[in-house]
Symmetry: D2
Subunit: 408 residues, 4 copies
């Protein structure tokens, strides 16, 4: 990642965190969680940047973060929160005490642009639906305008866009995604784009770093990587590493270190939330499944290993994703052994603190004038934009190095 | 670890590997495994030193390793091997094809000295039993003499002693263990010593590096650390990290890295072999249980975490130890989640390749003139002599550094 | 069980359910659950007697059950309920809507008598503490009087006493427990009794059937069985079969039916509630552990099977008990196989509906004039008073037969 | 099932057990297992009919069973046995000691007829392949002739055919399967038939009871049920209940009995043997998956329960099938709980003793003159021919009743 001269505006010390998918489960947890942190009602559990050595970086304080966002569905945050209370993710106490902050965020939420698969959904915000006929350029202009208005209205030093919307259907690569000039021509002429990439484009146009927490294309297109460099902005993604893949990339290096031969690694993911529902569509599941299998194969580095990732929709689990992995391996003397694990966690409560970490790190990188893929954030992603090892401990050591280097 | 001038004798290129507990399951797997490797009948699965970057160290070839050992029980290797065939650890084919090598090793096994708890066992070698009345000094002289005779008889460049005998009852510290002069005075005057420390003393007296794969005291006593430095010898231990603790020290850093709060970590170990039987004696289990709990507590670094390690003897499992760990943890918003894993592996097939790794690394360290605790081998042990982090990935990174630094 | 002539008083159709341990978790779930059922806010999930063929028995309607109870601790139900809300067992909505019913129950709770181990506890009701110096007879008189007053005050057709207090320390058998005359003499003369048996005595004296949901002695003493027969009352117990033992007694018969040989069955129970805390005292755990092991051994009927039950206190789990069982078994050709299961459930939410079932069945049995051990309820208990098979499916078939026979 | 007059021929007391798929893993285990039982080298573990009350039926002794069979692949039993030794199902000792019995069986194996999907396989017996052009009638004549020759050559009192071949592709119902006359007309005129049904037809023509251990159609076609009645023969099937489904049908009734509401039941089956390979073909997997799901749905009797059965091919497991089931259920107060289990067993060692049980029971039924579907064997099958409950314990109680009724 190249470095540019930092441009720290004077005056405001506040950061805007703009959530795409602003009433989804992750955003809801970010919003109530942030309110709880500010009120001292919550410990910063799960937020690595609140621990040393990251604390020494002087990252943006929770008090100085203002939330806003895009959303395509109708509703309000208290409804999403009610669901999460019913399923034991949020407490009623927190939801009650943070109701005015939630209402304020609701008021700042702007209609988003639809993805192909969203068209015709039941609960669509009519303002989002009515944008359906607009050209890609009109859409990005509108999104950029929302970001600028947010910055001005709240006198923010900087806005970071965090993309936490639903999984898009997989779309094969288009030639006009490969360079910025072609991309921008296609914007005018009805070219095809993943919605996530329109958001990334708009963010960069508005001078905002972009964090893509989903498997969607987002800012990973070569044209958008070019734009980020041109605008001297940092960005990171793709696909938050919150659960089974986190475990896989923690455990697989142990087998390699001990020269144990993994014969088969079967992973079964049971998801019950909107994400799980989307992924029960095989076309949408494709990108996710690939992101979950590739890190393992890369670490094992053995063509003969048999690996498989299944994602199943189990509605009763709601936000509590449950994964079972079975690892069959061979040791000395050809002895065949096994490891199996079951991981049961709240998808949103696992993701939300990582979104806060990444927003703060993107803010910090932008302040330092860092440009392009935030290589040091690889430990947060299943498919890190800057590539590199998938070994979680090596990735995290890289992040620690960054903190040691830049901490005061 | 200080460095001395290397003393590479000319002539023989052969290493003697002297196994204390020479007919136990681990030694049996070392012996048949080595034969299989030499015959090309086995892959070196589980032997990290056969992979890069360790291969570039030019470690001793399997062809150049000669086995010998001490043992207190009667019997022969083919009987131990029969047990391991019946329980699916060794194959009948390997045992049949290596029968003459096994018989040759049997002929080189010498009677060992008894530990307090061994007195009166049914299957004792009467030669070991008759040593019972000897003074500690007479015992160590006898053991040293066996090692010297082994070196001369087989024209060995060096002998490494690997201690793989049963777990001793825990013995509180004695003042005469703390410095060499007091230790040696007590040797003459009937002072109390763990048998494992007598073996370590004898090894150092014979100029042999010492590898302690058990939780026994071995060379960890200050007096013996002093002796190792005086004799300019490397040594390492204690307590091979082969299974549940390996997993714990791989997984626990992930929770710390993600700032997830471990509330409880319960570990249940089901063992069916001689080791399990020894450990069903609570006095013997004490050292093992401490070695299995301390690494976790050190990594979690949270006084409030509730941790527990149970070791239960389940005879039907024989060599197939099975562990279940349950980790209850808290994430963002106070959400409570869990991870559980079940590990099922052959204790001996997991340990044997590590013994081969360590013997080769101790040989290499001695050739380089390294003196004292082999700090770079910490990833092999539950309670590394040189201390340091218990985080498996950091420990292994340390070993990789060593290999990168000294490899050609 | 012998049959007496039924004695159905005219007038009131209401049943009093008197809970010993009235502010414990189970009672709290019974109280709020009953309120929810009456309000139509809850489905009768977990209450077998609400399904056919039991519905055809015409059991007491939820509307016609009045709660009361004994308790030795200070506090109120809303505090117990708050804990259960925080840990996801009760919902805040239910607790809020049932607050007046809870307050009414609080007002009906009377001070209980202490068990030996309760003396000196921090949160004791001083009225219970002050009873400490009373003679056993004075205590039973007091308890009986409370039951009678409850019946009269609320114009109840019948009172059933359900014992759901903490586990008592195990007490070896006393000669004066063996026949009623000796029991009653010892009541006058400071003989030793488990508190649970004093409650049972008092219940029978008050003409109330007694349900013992704990491993405590309760009404199982020969003297009290004699008293139940003399008073022509039904009773049942001991030790509710809610979780791991339920699974064991469901699964073990399958191994027997298939002639598979269970080599080892290890069961680990992780408990986090007050029950778990009591059981971390080995003396209290003794009765529970025996009750959890005996059914398995009785079903397997194989002296050589290795079985073990561990109970560990894991405070973070609170009410969510988690059990891991590992079954190692041998099939045809000596092939060794395994089954393992993990059960995670709310202890109180599992127990409470069984208490409701049993109270209704005891009421029905009393109405029919049944006398003595309620043999048909064996499927509810780890150590059924009337003995018989521990095979859950046979026990449940027995209950179905009873329902078919007596249903209209 | 109607009863006919028994027809016990005098003279020979030997039973012929004819295995279709005679060199598959199950048959190999039957053959070596029977040899081991006869030699007293094996315990009858897994063979329920060797225990009371079944022993009192006077079933055919193992000494009096002669094996033969059809097979479409080339090879010999010792090769199949070698595979099973390598994977720890059979011991080398047993295979060595039974080599002459295995060779004798090899000599009695006759070429089978191909299933559509078998055409073109690499290891086909050319005699089976050459039968490809024959008409269905020519095939059944040939099969019947083999059975008659077997009976005569070995002077057998009776022959039972046990079908243990691979899973066939699913074939939609044909009108000519529905009555015997149409079936027989179609035999002459190139109608389509599952190979398994041709074997069943041939068995009945030869006067042999038929046991179908696979999900294939076998004797379940109405036309063949008619033929069995006409020939006054007993038969049973389909699809042996050996593992995950056995557990499901043991556990699911517990949830029903306790009025616990199963929200989701996900079952994942990892298979590594030839069966697993066949089932990685979705068309073949269809019948198996249905047979594994239907029993659960039938027991739960709740339309809203979410159930799923996955079958994955994991070659490294070879014969050791591993299944993970996750049950999410709701208890009282809406509390959500879970049960998960992992079952790891040798597919063949689980199946073989059931084949022996069924062969003996079919022999006994034929001797008693029982005709048609052997209703009392339902506990052995995932899709019992006679229907009825899938609750394993009820099914087994039915079998016990049969034994009590007919035992001496």
């Amino acid at each position: 990642m190249a470095h540019a001269t930092p441009s720290n505006p004077q005056g405001s010390k506040r950061l805007g965190l703009w959530l795409v998918g602003a009433r989804g489960s992750i955003s809801t947890c970010v919003a109530y969680g942030l309110a709880g942190l500010r009120a001292g009602a919550l410990e910063p559990t799960g937020i690595a940047t609140e621990r040393d050595p990251f604390r020494r970086l002087g990252l943006r304080a929770f008090e100085d973060i203002v939330l806003g966002g895009h959303e395509i569905s109708l509703g309000d945050l208290s409804r999403s929160a009610g669901d999460l209370v019913r399923h034991g993710v949020l407490t009623q106490d927190l939801v009650t005490s943070a109701s005015s902050e939630a209402a304020a965020l609701d008021a700042r939420i702007r209609p988003g642009v639809l993805d192909v698969a969203d068209v015709g959904r039941a609960d669509l915000d009519p303002r989002s639906a009515s944008l359906g006929g607009a050209s890609p350029r009109e859409k990005t202009d509108r999104l950029t305008e929302d970001l600028r208005a947010f910055r001005e209205e709240h006198d923010l030093e900087r806005v970071v866009v965090a993309y936490v919307a639903s999984v898009e259907p997989w779309m094969d690569e288009r030639p006009h995604w490969n360079e910025l000039a072609a991309f921008e021509r296609a914007l005018e002429s009805e070219g095809e784009f993943p919605a996530s990439s329109l958001y990334a484009y708009a963010a960069f146009q508005a001078g905002a770093p972009f964090v893509n927490f989903t498997p969607n294309r987002g800012s990973s297109l070569p044209a958008l990587r070019e734009l980020a460099r041109a605008r001297r902005l940092p960005h990171c993604g793709n696909d938050g590493k919150t659960g089974e893949t986190l475990l896989k990339t923690t455990l697989a290096p142990m087998f390699t270190a001990r020269a144990l031969r993994v014969l088969s690694w079967q992973g079964y993911n049971l998801l019950g939330n909107k994400d799980g529902e989307s992924l029960s569509d095989p076309v949408r599941a494709q990108s996710k499944r690939r992101n979950k299998d590739a890190p393992l194969r890369s670490i094992l580095d053995d063509e003969t290993a048999h690996t498989r990732v299944e994602i199943d929709y189990v509605p009763s689990l709601h936000d509590w994703k449950t994964a079972w992995d079975f690892v069959h391996f061979e040791g000395f003397l050809g002895a065949r052994m096994s490891l199996q694990f079951t991981w049961a966690g709240s998808d949103s409560a696992l993701a939300a603190p990582l979104v806060l970490d990444l927003a703060r790190l993107a803010d910090f990188a932008a302040a330092r004038g860092e440009v392009g893929e935030m290589e040091h954030t690889a430990c947060y992603f299943k498919a890190p934009l800057a590539g590199g090892t998938h070994d979680f401990h090596r990735q995290f050591a890289r992040l620690l190095d960054y903190a040691e280097q830049h901490g005061s």
